[in-house]
Symmetry: C2
Amino acid sequence: MDKKQQILSAALRLFVANGFDGTPTAKIAIEAAVANGTLFYHYKTKEELIVALYNQLKEEQANYILPIITGSGFITDKFRDIFIHSVHWALSNPDKFYYIQQFNFSPHLAVVPKQVLKQQTIIYENFIEEGIKRKLLKQQDPELIIALFNGQVYGIYHYLTSAEFTPALREKTINESYEMVWDMMKYM
Amino acid sequence: MDKKQQILSAALRLFVANGFDGTPTAKIAIEAAVANGTLFYHYKTKEELIVALYNQLKEEQANYILPIITGSGFITDKFRDIFIHSVHWALSNPDKFYYIQQFNFSPHLAVVPKQVLKQQTIIYENFIEEGIKRKLLKQQDPELIIALFNGQVYGIYHYLTSAEFTPALREKTINESYEMVWDMMKYM
DNA sequence: TTATATTTAGACTGATTAATCAGTTTGTAA
DNA sequence: TTACAAACTGATTAATCAGTCTAAATATAA
């Protein structure tokens, strides 16, 4: 029914499989079971579609984590939850996670205003800042801690997708990795 | 003189600036001050050029770290050296580091045999394994430790390239980040 | 009902592009 | 000199692709 969503889903599948250059708009329309004109009716250019897809996925990713930050609970538990959830989101949505990386290392990133990108991390920043003030986290720039934290999610994603793991081993690895991440971030 | 190298250098500049799709082979030839046909004389297809460039950069990156591993010195000092050097290489060669990431999240990665990719990390693996056996590092899969280690390099690269830093602050940040990385990896 | 938005199919275009190819230059060695 | 291969040239080609256009159909809402 929702043709716009059909187009985005088809685009995600094809861009991940064949790259930006390797996927003609015509094929996206066919894969979405939509007329050629419909694609260009909703997205003026191919680039507009590429960026719209990125924004949707970033929002989806953020919405998956947001409830943890705003919810109740001990702050230290929240750190764990955020990490575990971030990794789980990436592993349950490998295409989406991959697309975001693919986009981040492409010239398309340049067309997203810096302000928009900044806005996406501001919620994390306030949260991390609180952890630093309470002397739970190392006394470093919150942005550095976020960058290293994201680096960890990136690292473990690569590790867990480089080979086959049983679900049990996967969970064990994620939990033990968090212990390592926590050793990295914690104050003492 | 060496036209092949001219082509690779030009390709690096243009691919990083405009992406794989955004750079016609014709432009690479012009930028390299070489005839169109010369490019295809050395590289049968555009893809072959893209992959050749990737392999060269990976080799260059490895050669920068290798002497540390094989050299003399305390193993714990080597861990620090490898981290610091890895970050420095990325920061001194942002184009090359960026290209490797761009390639890693592109369909071109699929054409590199897994065996070749494995071979690139085997030297690290033996080294890490020794650290684990000696109970200097946490008792985890060496590949996991390498993945998290690389995640850190990735994270700090993003942080240090997201804004301007004075050389002094940059070095301070790298050193302090290493302390955090070490807290993550060390046995106790 | 009427108007407005959305959708369809596919032919079309103008520009771009990867790759080719017939021939030229260069270095070297007989 | 001659011979030969490797390196190089750049105009040409055949194909592809993003985006347009048309005219009709269908849905949505005022």
